[in-house]
Amino acid sequence: MRVVNMYAEVDPEKCTGCRVCEKVCPTISIKVVGEKKEKLAVVDLNTCVGCGACVERCQFEAVVLKTLDESRIISVNPHSVDEEKVSELCIKARLHPEQIICYCTGTRAEEVAAAILMGASSPEEISRMTGVRTGCKVECIQPILRLLKAAGIEPKPIEGGWQWYGITPTIWDIPEDVIKKYSARGFYFEEDRALFKKLLDTVKAGGE
């Protein structure tokens, strides 16, 4: 769930049409239109959630965040879809359904799983539906990709975009020889695997 209380506004006098804003927008809500000297970034206010990625990366200070007259909420109710399927999807991704995966919005794995079950097939669609990945824009891409993969979906990064590049390893993918090699150096992979397993076992057992 995300409270949207801001939106991005472009200053046409400062915008050079460099397209950096396009490349970093997690909801694909800003696009450069026009040709040559007429190029200008345009914000889609229907999908902009005011995350500020464009503001923060514009080297020309051409984008600012403005306060909405009336805030709105974007969310997916995980209880509005088959809860068993939500749970199955989360467990397949090795995430507890109630586990927080976006520390800025407090979005839990179950909300993203529900969005996928409702048809979302890319991180961008999920961000538009739930608001996940629209706070810091940094820490939550992997659980989103893990949940999509668990649903059998392999989204492609946006061509030319920098939104995201690919799925990365989890603790379950670390080769045994690597675990063995570094366990005496303070990397407690076996013990952390046991912690995650304990967490997931509470779901299988029907909660605490």
Partner: protein, 489 residues
């Protein structure tokens, strides 16, 4: 309570507020925590006399940092860099938060000068990484004139900038392309424990390869995929990759203690440097954090130009203090009271999903935010600790912050700091106050808390030296015996 014969000092004035797009206008910050009644300062060397002498602040001024950097770099091999080669000096925003940032800026400038002198190349660039405030490094580059110093070749880089895949022994991870767009890289960082709740002081010196120089995919792997004690392995995996090793030259670290800057260390061997700084950090920061973790009850006043987790007291950041319901150095504990894995494992209604989750440091009975930035997801603290925000200007920082949209739902606003403290004392039922204001070399606290710290420090000193330090080293495979000590480096 019996106290040693220490006369408490007047509170140490913190640095004045700095203008930043992430914080309130400094004009609003009229009253500081140290201006409150009954606040005194405790010099950290009076608590732990073995903390090494400062090179900065000292009577030698900032030149001491330059001299220490030059001396440290004398033993470093730069022969791989040829005239005309391009070199990226990789820095991080963290260094600029230490003692106002000037020591770190001076170290960066000196590294550039020494590389030029020793190798003959002039193509030296500065790339300064950030965390979640993507323009923070640009502010420091401007403030310290680094763009001019690096001949218009200094830029801030962010984790959402263009990436580059890096093949590692655990699979593909991603770095920031502009960090690696040179023939050679130099790793220029700071050694304080800082986010020990995240890295658990396993490969501390390597961390920026998985953070400041890394893309979102890598950072998300760190905080979501690898677990609370294995997270920092992404940094080692990237550092050990063929891609990075082909560009690797040496590391230079500013070495603070809780009292100030003790030295500068440099080495071609990053892991050797890591072992040295680990022992020093366990000894000095370990004692301070262990002491702070022994506080029974307090009100924490946040009053520094940084987001909530990064405000300082005696060199420790608030996140460490809030995590200190367990010994965060001890790897037998899977989860500290605060880390993102801990936060993740609170279910609906803030119910812990497993019993292994320690609470946020229960000694913190209330949190008063007099001055702090946004730009870091902080709702967790407001939900876990009764929170009072001083002034609408400070509340507005959180309301307008995409990372803290709901923060003020869990906090109340007081018109001024004395009113906030008065209210905090009522709800916390304590007069013990600790101020996170970055005061150099000292902790600003209420007299009641000063007495408690002084009373407990000798036992903490013994506990760390005799029991904890050997254990922390043993857990990480670090050999303590034969280490010459901080001042030898």
């Amino acid at each position: 309570m019996i106290t040693r014969n220490i006369k408490f000092n007047q509170p140490v004035k913190p640095l004045p507020p700095k203008p930043s797009r992430y914080g309130p206008d400094p004009e609003y910050i009229k009253t500081r925590g140290c201006d409150l009644e009954n606040i005194v300062s405790v010099n950290v060397r009076e608590l732990f006399p073995d903390i090494p002498e400062n090179i900065y602040p000292s009577e030698k001024g900032i030149k001491a940092v330059r001299d220490a950097t030059v001396a440290a770099l004398e033993k470093v091999d730069m022969s791989m860099i040829k005239p005309g080669d391009s070199v990226n000096v990789l820095g991080s925003h963290h260094g600029f938060t230490i003692l106002g940032g000037e020591p770190y800026a001076e170290m960066l400038k000196t590294i550039k000068d020494v590389i030029m002198e020793k190798t003959g190349t002039e193509n030296i660039r500065l790339r300064v990484g950030v965390g979640l405030r993507f323009r923070e490094s640009d502010e420091y580059i401007k403030r310290f004139g680094l763009d001019e110093y690096f001949n218009k070749r200094a830029i801030g880089v962010a984790p959402i900038d263009e990436g580059i895949p890096i093949e590692t022994e655990i699979g593909t991870l991603y770095g920031i392309k502009r960090c690696y767009d040179a023939d050679w890289i130099v790793h220029a960082h700071n050694s304080d424990v800082r986010e020990i709740h995240f890295h658990r002081h396993v490969d501390r010196a390597v961390k920026p390869f998985g953070m400041s120089y890394a893309r979102i995919e890598t950072r998300s792997t760190y905080h979501q995929n690898l677990g609370p004690r294995g997270a920092n392995f992404v940094a080692r995996a990237i550092f050990n990759s063929e891609f990075v090793q082909k560009k690797w030259t040496f590391a230079t670290f500013l070495k603070p203690t809780p009292a100030g800057i003790a030295s500068v260390d440099a080495d071609n061997d990053l892991f050797a440097l890591d072992e040295r700084l680990s022992i020093d950090n366990f000894r000095y920061y370990g004692k301070i954090l262990t002491l702070l973790s022994h506080i029974d009850e307090c009100i924490a006043v946040l009053d520094f130009q940084a987001p909530i987790p990064y405000v300082f007291s005696a060199g420790m950041i608030f996140a460490n203090f809030s995590a200190a319901s367990i010994d965060v150095f001890d790897l037998d504990y899977p989860l500290p009271g605060y880390t993102w894995y801990t936060e993740a494992f609170y279910g609906e209604g803030d119910r812990p999903l497993i019993p292994d989750i320690p609470p946020v440091n229960p000694a913190i009975k209330a949190m008063v935010i007099n001055y702090a930035w946004g730009g870091y997801p902080s709702v967790f603290w407001a939900k876990m600790i009764p929170t009072i925000v001083v002034g609408e200007w400070q509340a507005e920082v959180f309301r307008r912050d995409p990372q803290n949209v709901e923060f003020m739902k869990h906090a109340v606003v007081a018109d001024d700091l004395p009113t906030a403290i008065e209210f905090a004392m009522k709800i916390a039922d304590t007069d013990k106050i600790i101020i996170f204001d970055g005061a150099p070399g000292a902790i600003n606290v209420s007299e009641s808390l000063a007495e408690e710290l002084v009373e407990k420090a000798p036992d903490v000193d013994r506990e760390v030296e005799q029991k904890l330090l050997p254990k922390w080293c043993r857990q990480r495979g670090i050999k303590l015996e034969g280490y010459a000590g901080a001042e030898a480096h």
